[in-house]
């Protein structure tokens, strides 16, 4: 099993990054730090899905001059393009909500916000 893990070390690194992001999201009380944790989780999932499509010794999936089979799977890459756009949209919306919370309540620490209710 250790050999299987060593061969799939890229997937294991994605799991590790996911756990680092999850730790930041649960323990930190600053809202912006929580949101950085969410972003790390999102990019780790993107890295995992793109790594699923890699073929050893393959070229990028662009049929131009000088490209020869085997090609790398184009399907995960297109799904991740849409995913990155959605991640940017959630980043913009979450940060504007944080700005609004700060203007309304004066703080962006989750503990102080909870005591304010």
């Amino acid at each position: 099993m250790i050999e299987a893990l060593w061969q799939n070390i890229d997937y294991v690194a994605s799991v590790l990054l996911f756990c680092i992001g999850l730790y930041a999201m649960i323990t930190k009380s600053n809202l912006i730090k929580k949101f950085i944790g969410l972003n790390i989780m999102e990019t780790s999932v993107f890295a995992f899905i793109v790594a699923l499509g890699v073929v050893e010794g393959g070229d990028a999936p662009i049929m131009g001059v000088g490209a020869s089979p085997p090609f790398i799977n184009p399907l995960p890459q297109s799904l991740i393009l849409t995913g990155i756009v959605v991640a940017v949209s959630t980043t913009a919306l979450a940060l504007s909500l944080i700005i609004r919370i700060h203007k309304q309540c004066g703080t962006i620490e989750a503990d102080e916000l909870r005591e304010m209710e």
């Binding site: 930041a24 600053n30 790390i40 990019t43 990155i84």
Partner: protein, 81 residues
């Protein structure tokens, strides 16, 4: 050789992520996060996904970092605990 480069990039990625989580100065954390995005872009070029790498480079360095800096300038710069 290619696997060694892969492992080097992954180690750099994990150390950037750990540094971002531990820093208390949010401005420094944003800059390191921009570096994390750059290393992710290199990883995708290495894996043969140029479209995804271009999108991540433009979005990570151009849009996400700037929006974080705007948010930090309007709220607090240091994390309180």
């Amino acid at each position: 050789m290619s696997k060694l480069f892969d492992i080097l990039l992954l180690l750099l990625l994990i150390s950037c992520a750990l540094a971002v989580v531990r820093m208390k100065d949010l401005l420094a954390a944003t800059i390191v996060f921009s570096g994390y995005s750059l290393v992710m872009c290199l990883l995708w070029v290495h894996r043969g996904a140029p479209d995804v790498a271009m999108t991540e480079a433009a979005v990570g360095a151009g849009v996400t970092t700037v929006l974080f800096l705007l948010a930090i300038s309007r709220t607090a710069r240091y994390e309180r605990r």
